[in-house]
């Protein structure tokens, strides 16, 4: 996984900064809009939606990294960690806004939400599962973990599943978003499954 496919005037460092700018952009825009009070009369709803949506979008990017690298675009594969951390970042903002605006930092209300609303539980579990992935994204830890790192990070597919369920459960009269995510994650997961299946088939044949 080298970056030899990059044009000569682009070093990976520059690309990394471009991708970083892309990832941090939505946050900067939201922060500016909150300060300017430019999110309309009910910023809670906008912030919940926007932070959640960006977390999902970057999750799609993370899952796209491997197939794209195999189709000749390895740069994204190297930036997988960056985007993985942005998933955790936007998911955490999503949770913070929920705590601030919907739960009002009340333990009793949080307990009630977790007990009574399955979509909150599913979303919360997805966020919890993101934590070990974020921590173990440190290079030193990754090296120390060896092959365990890979198996741990496979839980990203479980997270994608939970997120789809979360959105589906939240749909009210229009299931467009939920369907879109279900299809995108379905295709990405399906592709991984096919690759895995082929590999094991080949392994069997050669043994």
């Amino acid at each position: 996984m080298t970056t030899h496919s990059l044009p000569p005037f682009l070093s990976y460092r520059i690309v990394w900064w471009l991708l970083f700018g892309f990832g941090i952009g939505p946050f900067l825009w939201l922060a500016w809009a909150v300060i300017q009070n430019a999110l309309g009369p009910d910023p809670a709803e906008v912030l919940m939606h926007t932070t959640g949506e960006w977390a999902i979008r970057f999750l799609v990017v993370v899952l796209l990294a491997r197939p794209l690298s195999q189709w000749g675009w390895p740069v994204l594969f190297r930036a997988r960690r960056l985007f993985g951390l942005f998933v955790a970042f936007y998911a955490s903002l999503h949770l913070l806004v929920f705590a601030q605006v919907y739960v009002g930092w009340s333990g009793a209300i949080l307990a009630e939400e977790l007990a009574e609303r399955p979509y909150v539980v599913v979303g919360f579990v997805a966020w919890v599962l993101l934590l070990p992935l974020s921590i173990t994204s440190l290079h030193s830890l990754r090296r120390r973990m060896g092959r365990h790192w890979r198996s741990l990070h496979r839980s990203v597919y479980l997270i994608a599943l939970l997120v789809t369920l979360h959105v589906l459960w939240l749909s009210r009269s229009d299931i467009g978003d939920a369907l879109l995510y279900a299809v995108v994650f379905g295709v990405l997961l399906g592709w991984r499954f096919v690759v895995f299946w082929r590999k094991s088939l080949r392994a069997k044949q050669s043994s």
């Binding site: 909150v34 009070n37 809670a44 709803e45 912030l47 601030q100 605006v101 009210r172």
Partner: protein
């Protein structure tokens, strides 16, 4: 006023009304103290955001519960943050796209179990009734709320004109449904069965707080707020307050309503504001009184019947409101 008889579906009235005709009409109406009808001449873009909508003359109401001294939600918020799924599910969609709806000519069919079925035209709505201003709390089922000065007349006054028969027990309403003018109804993934339907029990419909609404903030309703005629039932969740009404039917059985059809376990026929009965997916004990902000969310406690218990609780005496949510 003959223009109302000419039907130009899906063409904005501003495009077909010659300016001199419009001006004449405007003078005519202002002469009669009825600037409201000038609304039919407004431009599409003005319809969405306009601060120049026609003024309505209305007396302040002095009935019980008809006003509140809570601070008003700013006009710009009230007309830019709306649910009107015929134009899309985002809060900003109605303000952006509702101008595509043609509200002139407009007529409302009143029928069913009435002795004198008939039609009301746009003009009748504004000239035919004594308009009052009522300041109501408006509580959305999504747990946000506003305080809005509406202009209208009691639904009872309208219904009495058509003489409900003694078999009539409920009132069923329908919103306009025109795919060409309502992009939300063209969504492939929407699961609402159009047209939008709502209903009330007859005693709820006849209650003095139940308002047929033609304006807000002293101006004609902009399209996104349900022009030219909508219902306001202040003690029920906002979706009961059906917009852009084209049909009012008196019936003897509880009518099917859109949200109840869609998710009966979440939206009941009554849908009275009730902090004790949660929406299955969120709590109804609090509401964000708009405008809200991130650092001061303005989160307040929701009151039974949206604070109108004194006026309306007796309608539901002996009913288990956990069952009839």
């Amino acid at each position: 006023m003959r223009l109302r008889d000419v039907n130009f579906p899906s063409i904005a009235s501003s495009e077909i009304t010659p300016e001199d005709v419009w001006l004449n009409r405007r003078q005519l109406m202002q002469g009669a103290g009825l600037g409201a009808l000038a609304a039919v001449g407004m431009t599409p873009s003005a319809a969405a955001t306009s601060p120049t909508l026609a003024e309505l003359a209305a007396a302040a109401a002095d009935c019980d519960g008809c006003s509140t001294d809570e601070s008003l939600t700013p006009y710009s918020d009230a007309i830019s943050y709306n649910n009107f799924y015929e134009f899309g599910t985002d809060k900003s969609d109605p303000a952006q796209y509702a101008h595509e709806m043609n509200v002139d000519p407009w007529s409302v069919e009143v029928g069913g179990l009435v002795n004198k079925p008939g039609k009301l035209h746009l003009e009748d709505l504004i000239t035919g009734f004594d308009l009052e201003e009522r300041i109501y709390r408006f509580r959305c089922v999504e747990a946000w709320s506003m305080v809005v000065p509406w202009v209208g007349f009691p639904l009872a006054a309208l219904l009495e004109r058509f003489e409900p028969s003694s078999d009539a027990k409920y009132v069923a309403f329908k919103t306009l449904y025109r795919r060409r003018e309502m992009r939300g109804t063209r969504s492939f993934t929407s699961i609402i069965d159009w047209p939008y339907r709502e209903g009330l029990r007859l005693d709820e419909a006849m209650h003095p707080l139940t308002l047929m609404t033609v304006g807000l903030y002293g101006k004609v309703l902009p399209n996104q707020s349900g022009a030219p005629l909508r219902l306001i039932v202040p003690w029920k969740y906002g979706f009961k307050s059906i917009k852009s009404i084209v049909s009012i039917e008196l019936v003897d059985k509880q009518p099917a309503t859109s949200w109840q059809q869609l998710a009966p376990q979440e939206y009941g026929f009554y849908s009275n504001v009730n902090p004790e009965v949660d929406h299955p997916r969120w709590s109804q004990r609090f509401e964000r009184r708009l405008p809200s902000s991130l650092f001061s969310p303005n989160r307040i406690q929701t009151l039974p019947f949206n604070g109108y218990a004194e006026q309306v609780a007796s309608l539901y005496k002996g009913m288990d409101l956990r069952v009839h949510y």
